[in-house]
Structures are given as structure tokens and as C-alpha cells.
Amino acid sequence: MKKLLIILGYIAAILALVLAVTPLFKIAYIPSILALIFGIPALVTSKGQQTGKRAIQLVFLMTIIALALTTYKAVFTESEVGNTEQLEQKEDQLEEESIDELEGLDLDEIDNE
């Protein structure tokens, strides 16, 4: 039972850490909470025993790092648009091409039909 809890805690903590460094960092809260849910009973059951204590401490350490990183990013990251220079160039180029295509169009004739 304790082994299973430690393994699940490990998986959740690693997932939290990986997610915390990606743009989907807000989702890292879910595996972080899961890691704590698995870690706490593992810690309680291993009281007085030496085996597996290091592993549980590592789970907690990873979870705390993931939580700290996620919270920091959630507070300080502002959503900014990336480089749009290429898009703007394409827009200008397309507008020029479109005007050439529409050159023969007589709007009054079409609207009055």
C-alpha cells in the first residue's frame, strides 16, 4: 500500500513539475494536489520506519517546487502577443494582390442590380 502511494505520488509530482514549465502551467495545480493526496498518507504510514522516507521527501520537494513555480507564473506572467511582423507583411502583400484582383469590379452596378 505504502509503495503504491509513493509510486503514484512520484508520478503526480513529476507530471506537476513538467506541466509547471510549459505554457499549460495552470493545469499543474491538479497533479500537485494529487501528489499531496498520495504523499500525506504515505508519510503517515511510514512514521517510525526508515524505509521510503527519502522517496516521500522527494515527492514533497518536487510538489512544492511545482506549486511555487506555477503560482509565480500565474501571478507574474502577462499574456503578450508574439512577433507578428511576418503576419503584417503578409497582410500588406495580400491587400495589394486583392486590390489588383478587384480592379475590374463595378460595385454600383452590382449593388443596384
Partner: protein, 282 residues
């Protein structure tokens, strides 16, 4: 006697046929007048110089992740003979997403400023390495669209496909349809009313249905707004999932700005929230 009877029957049948023909003609002409009325509905909502900015988010287990900025912009474009209205929609991912899944989408349509009839449509998309360009040139007299598709192969070389697509009298492109929805007289509609539009997308015509669900007051970045709540569905398509899960809120004023949208796609739920609105007509 028999001759008179036969003549009588023939006369009656001629009268019936003539009456039928007149009725048919009347019906057909009414339909033509009505359809031309709808297709040439006057633009009372959209003006050049309008810019609407949105933030698109992906919803995962209730946690919203901001993905991209979407803008809807209008401007005036002049050719030697006429002045057209350019409707432009762009979607650009936020910088933290660029290294993972970069999106640079551009959709634009050149329409008549009076009636919002489309003449030229361009779609240039870049989505995580996938590139595609589509161009539709509408010919409303022959009811055809000259379509051009340009795609990039994996080795970087390009290929083109030119096609002529037959369209219906009221078929529009995606961008024009979005603006056309804003131009509808929703204030005259009652709750539960629905309307269908034919949209040309990927050289295929699809029917999009809009249903007026209710009036709601919602909080937005541009203030508390009374809105028309509409549901959108695409017939015979699996792009949008669910029933009444794809919703659009348009302000219940003369501008009918789309302030909020919720949509359900194959990979989850998304949201579109307004950030700013400038250059409005009213």
C-alpha cells in the same frame, strides 16, 4: 352536344392551367423579390475603422489557459472604380505558446459596404507548422466561386489547386457570415427564432443555424452589457460538438458587438472574451 362538352372541359382546363401558371409566376416572383431583399439587406451595423480584440482561452477542468489573441478589424479599401469594406480576422498565439504551437491565422473578406456582399476572400493560416492558403473570388452573376488552394508539402515545396465551385444565391464566406450575423434585425426576432446561412468553407457549402435563445446581462471588459444569447450549430459537420453548447453573446444595442463566445470542440471547451472595442459605428 358532345362537342360542346369537350370544348367546355378544354376551356375549364385551360383556365385552371392559366390560373396555376399565374399563381406559380406570382410565387416565383415573390420568392425572387424576397430573396433579393434578404441578400441585399442594408448594412446598418458595420463601419470602416472598427477594431474588436478578444482573448481566446482553452478550458481544462475549469482552469482557463489563455491561448491566443483574436482581432476583428474593418477598413476601407479603394480600387479605381469602387470603395470596398475589408473585414479582417486574425488569431495570434501569445508569446509563451509560440515555441509549442505557433498560430498565425489570417482570414479576410472584401465586401460591399452597403450590402456586405462578399467579392474576395483570403484565408492564410499557419498552425504549428501547418500552412494553407485559400482564395475565393465570388461571381454573383454566374453564382460561381473561383477557388484557389495553396498548400506546402513537408519538403517545403508548394502545390496549387484551382477549382470552380457552384454556389447558392445567398452563400457567403466565413468572415462575411460572422459580420452578417451582427447585421441581423435581432430586436425584431422573438425568443426561439432561428435562421440558417450557407457558408462556403474548404470548397464545400455548409449550413450554419443561429437560434435566438434569450436576453442576458453579462459583465465584460467593456462594461456590463445586455446581450442577445445565440446558439450556433453547423449541420452535417462535426467541428462544433454538442447541442446548444456553442453560444454567442451579442450586445443588445445598435452595434451588436460579439462580447463573449463559448464553444465545444473535439478536444475540449473554449472561450472567447472581449478585451477592447474601438471605432464603433453607433
Amino acid at each position: 352536344m358532345i362537342k360542346d362538352c369537350i370544348f367546355g372541359i378544354i376551356n375549364v382546363s385551360i383556365i385552371v392551367i392559366t390560373t396555376k401558371r399565374i399563381t406559380m409566376k406570382f410565387l416565383i416572383s415573390t420568392l425572387i423579390i424576397l430573396s433579393s431583399f434578404f441578400s441585399l439587406a442594408q448594412n446598418k451595423t458595420i463601419a470602416a475603422g472598427e477594431k474588436l480584440t478578444y482573448s481566446a482561452s482553452y478550458n481544462m477542468n475549469g482552469i482557463l489557459n489563455e491561448l491566443a489573441e483574436v482581432t476583428m478589424q474593418t477598413s476601407e479599401v479603394k480600387t479605381s472604380k469602387s470603395t470596398l469594406l475589408k473585414l479582417k480576422c486574425t488569431a495570434v498565439t501569445y508569446s509563451n505558446w509560440d515555441s509549442f504551437f505557433k498560430i498565425r491565422d489570417l482570414y479576410e473578406s472584401y465586401v460591399s459596404p452597403k450590402t456586405l456582399t462578399p467579392f474576395l476572400y483570403n484565408r492564410d493560416i499557419y498552425e504549428g507548422g501547418y500552412k494553407k492558403f485559400m482564395k475565393y473570388k465570388f461571381n454573383h452573376k454566374t453564382r460561381t466561386v473561383a477557388s484557389l488552394k495553396r498548400k506546402t508539402r513537408r519538403d517545403g515545396t508548394e502545390w496549387e489547386e484551382k477549382k470552380s465551385v457552384k454556389i447558392g444565391g445567398s452563400t457567403r464566406d466565413l468572415v462575411t457570415t460572422l459580420y452578417h450575423i451582427r447585421n441581423l434585425d435581432i430586436h425584431k426576432a422573438s425568443i426561439g427564432d432561428s435562421q440558417s446561412f450557407t457558408v462556403l468553407f474548404d470548397n464545400k457549402e455548409s449550413v450554419v443555424s443561429i437560434k435566438y435563445l434569450s436576453k442576458e446581462t453579462i459583465n465584460t471588459a467593456i462594461g456590463k452589457k445586455e446581450c442577445y444569447k445565440l446558439s450556433i450549430s453547423i449541420n452535417n459537420s462535426n467541428v462544433l460538438k454538442g447541442n446548444n453548447d456553442n453560444l454567442l453573446w451579442l450586445t443588445a444595442d445598435a452595434n451588436k458587438i460579439p462580447v463573449y463566445a463559448k464553444f465545444k470542440i473535439a478536444v475540449g471547451n473554449g472561450e472567447l472574451k472581449i478585451k477592447s472595442a474601438t471605432g464603433l459605428k453607433h
